[in-house]
């Protein structure tokens, strides 16, 4: 009974953070998206998703489709995206 309660608590506390990579970063890391079950900040999400790879110069970060910073806190359900400088137009 005790162990099943612990499992329930773990399930409730689990977060869902969607991580996305684009363009040259997507190719370099070999992945376009993944899901994390916990992350405190965008930096924390980067560390987990890339196994602590160094942050590239000029890295851009967006949380829920708006530009953000690496130290921006994350909440359950957030989508955090990492990408290189944009080159449209």
């Amino acid at each position: 009974m005790l162990s099943s309660n612990f499992k329930l608590a773990e399930t409730i506390n689990q977060m869902s953070i969607q991580v996305k990579f684009f363009a040259s970063l997507r190719e370099k890391l070999g992945q376009s998206d993944m899901e994390l079950t916990a992350a405190t900040t965008a930096q924390d999400a980067w560390n987990q998703a890339t196994q602590n790879k160094p942050v590239p110069d000029n890295l851009l970060v967006a949380i829920n489709l708006d530009y953000a910073k690496l130290d921006t806190p994350l909440q359950d359900g957030d989508e955090v995206a990492f990408f290189p400088p944009v080159t449209g137009g």
Partner: protein
């Protein structure tokens, strides 16, 4: 007002004419300013055969709408159009079309200028150029000159 992303060839002059006709503002505008960006066959490299434009779809739509809203707040625009290509493009193809309609020229010209500069530095699009040697990601936009 309209903004969208197209994954197939765009005809800039036709899009501008259609947007102008759709708004029923005949007689109100005295100025139309437009910018059309097209693909060259050279950059730092020569003989570029094609380019592939990637984007972050949800953020792109949101960002283009935000650009339009901000431009409308800053200048008295009667109408505005932003269309951007994604996918595979070839030399000569249009990549981006921006048009602004206003009663007077300064608002139309300044809004059009501001929109293309903002789009180039912040909208989440990325270009990958292809030559006979393979593909190369474009590292950054120039300062516009």
């Amino acid at each position: 007002m309209a903004s969208w992303v197209s994954d197939s060839l765009i005809e800039p002059w036709q899009l501008i004419a259609e947007q102008q006709a759709a708004q029923n503002i005949e007689g109100q505008y005295g100025a139309t300013a437009s910018f059309i960006g097209s693909m060259r066959d050279f950059s730092d490299r020569t003989d570029i055969k094609k380019m592939v434009l990637e984007h972050y779809p949800a953020m792109t739509s949101r960002y283009l709408e935000k650009l339009e809203d901000t431009a409308r707040q800053r200048w008295p625009l009667l109408n505005c159009l932003i269309v951007h290509r994604v996918g595979e493009v070839h030399p000569g193809d249009a990549i981006v079309v921006i048009a602004c309609w206003s009663a007077h020229r300064r608002a139309a010209l300044d809004a059009c200028d501001w929109l293309i500069e903002e789009l180039k530095y912040k909208a989440p699009f990325w270009k990958k150029e292809f030559t006979d040697d393979g593909g190369h990601w474009v590292s950054g936009n120039t300062d516009g000159h």
